[in-house]
């Protein structure tokens, strides 16, 4: 793509998120979300492949529907209460509609169906931007509105963790697995949103770090299926040995840092007398753990039969910039002892 156009589009993506972050007026928040949607469209269909174009169209339709619902909800709120402020939505219909619209925007179950198909049609870098940067602006809005109905957010959260677990079980395409993993993590974030919003932010940032490591590890191996990961031990042995830790961190196992958000969320849910819900959420994390384990089994724990020549490639110095991968992998593995500091930093 023309570098000037790429610059303009990336700048517009930053601008959209910044506008939504800085806004207290619903119209401005909507504007930021629409700018984000528009600016990522050419990035998504860069390769001009029909599959990528299909993913772009699906993404545009779902995001436009969600933005239209957001606009309807904010106009209804302005009609009823006479003001456009984000934080002062006190009637249940606009607030519920806003929550559902933002759930469609980020891909929470049962509004998740677009996510695996869209991510499957994109290359890994664009999928990474979609999974991380595009979630920031809707979460900023979700953190600021007063939830109208306690059970709506809990149902969205629990359904997302379950769907993210069960949906990812039968996949061997890595991008779809990453999509279902995203859905499951978003479910965890929404579960605790109305009780302790700082934990939502903490889970979001931890998810960004973990999924960045995973996406970039897959990109370095240039693989989009589990089968193609099986020879990565001979090409990039260090990355192959680190990826199981990243995957187990995503699954939420102690002593890795992915345990931190799940632990704190379970503690908060128990404090709010929602212990059965906490148990269900913890059990649903087992489902996700299964497909994370399957990836690490195929990649690292097993050496697939292959010819001798393929098993001994020349390990030439690579041109890939792996410093961000190194940083985020270290953070993904070693951040658990800093839990009190991180919680204190992120308490809003």
């Amino acid at each position: 793509m023309n570098p000037y156009i790429l610059t303009i589009l990336l700048f517009a993506m930053g601008l959209g998120t910044t506008i939504t972050f800085a806004s207290s007026h619903w119209l401005l928040a909507w504007m930021g979300l629409e700018i984000n949607t528009l600016a990522i469209l050419p990035l998504m269909c860069q390769s001009h492949h029909p599959r990528a174009v299909e993913a772009t169209i699906k993404y545009f339709l779902t995001q436009a529907t969600a933005a239209a619902m957001l606009l309807f909800a904010s106009i209804t709120n302005a009609w009823i209460t006479g003001q456009w402020n984000l934080e002062f939505m006190s009637y249940s219909l606009p607030t519920t509609l806003v929550t559902v619209a933002l759930a469609l925007k980020i891909g929470l179950a049962p509004l998740h169906a677009w996510m695996p198909e869209v991510l499957q049609g994109l290359d890994l870098t664009t999928g990474l931007i979609l999974s991380t940067w595009q979630k920031l602006a809707p979460f900023c809005l979700l953190l600021q509105i007063n939830p109208s109905n306690t059970s709506l957010l809990l149902i969205l959260g629990l359904a997302s963790t379950l769907v993210g677990g069960w949906g990812g079980l039968n996949q061997n395409q890595l991008r779809k697995i990453l999509a279902y993993s995203s859905i499951a993590h978003l479910g965890w974030m929404i579960l605790v949103l109305q009780f302790f919003p700082s934990l939502t932010l903490l889970t979001l940032l931890m998810y960004f770090v973990m999924t960045f490591s995973l996406f970039i590890s897959f990109k370095v191996n240039n693989s989009t299926t589990i089968n193609s990961l099986s020879m990565s031990w001979s090409k990039t042995p260090i990355i192959s040995s680190m990826v199981p830790f990243i995957l187990l961190s995503l699954g939420g196992l102690p002593p890795l840092s992915g345990f931190m958000p799940k632990w704190l969320i379970l503690q908060e849910l128990t404090k709010q007398s929602l212990a059965p819900l906490a148990t269900l959420a913890a059990l649903s994390a087992l489902l996700s753990l299964y497909f994370y384990l399957r990836i690490s089994y195929a990649m690292t724990l097993t050496m697939s039969p292959n010819t001798l020549l393929n098993a001994l490639p020349w390990r030439l110095p690579s041109n890939q910039h792996t410093l961000p991968l190194a940083i985020t992998t270290s953070l993904t593995i070693c951040l658990l002892p800093l839990t009190p500091a991180i919680t204190a930093l992120l308490t809003l």
């Binding site: 793509m1 156009i5 303009i8 589009l9 517009a12 601008l15 506008i19 401005l28 504007m31 700018i35 528009l38 600016a39 469209l41 050419p42 269909c45 001009h48 174009v53 772009t56």
Partner: protein
């Protein structure tokens, strides 16, 4: 007066169902013309005469005309309208849905007046919509610049999406 408002609002819903039920862009755009025209009427009754004029000129006379020309060049040779049963069934289904949801949520059609009272206690020199446009150009200057920049980015996005002439993203280009 109320009959006029009834007529306008019913026409709005009919046009909305027409736009939603037609798979062909010709008939959907025709429904859109009807909806926009009636929407302008409703807007005038509510006091936004300037906004209604802008809607008519720019939306109908600019954007919809360009869309009609593009659709005439690019769309299907055998358009399906209300003459075919699936489309008519869809239209009736939407109308049924609207009527059922309407009766579910509304108390009565005759309890309150549908006419809007559009006056304040004192006499105003300018209407709300004209003053809003003027404010956009004065104290809302930063938002105007932001809007202009966003429209420019949209132009770049559309040009990038349609670049390539059938080797690119859209094979129909």
């Amino acid at each position: 007066m109320m009959y006029m408002m009834y007529f306008l609002l019913f026409g709005l819903v009919l046009g909305l169902a027409a736009v939603a039920s037609n798979p062909s862009p010709y008939f959907a755009a025709l429904g859109l013309v009807v909806v926009a025209g009636i929407g302008c009427g409703v807007l005038i009754w509510h006091g936004g005469s300037f906004l209604s004029l802008i809607l008519f000129l720019i939306y109908l006379g600019g954007m919809l005309v360009v869309f009609a020309y593009s659709a005439a060049l690019a769309a299907e040779p055998y358009p399906e309208g209300w003459g075919s049963w699936p489309v008519l069934g869809l239209m009736l289904g939407y109308l049924l849905g609207v009527v059922s949801v309407g009766t579910l949520f509304s108390s009565s059609m005759y309890d309150e007046s549908w006419m809007v009272c559009d006056e304040f206690g004192e006499f105003y020199f300018v209407r709300g919509d004209m003053e809003g446009v003027a404010t956009l150009y004065s104290s809302g200057g930063f938002m105007l610049a932001m809007g202009v920049w966003v429209l420019l980015v949209t132009l770049f996005v559309v040009l990038e999406l349609t670049r390539g002439m059938s080797r690119g993203t859209l094979r129909a280009v």
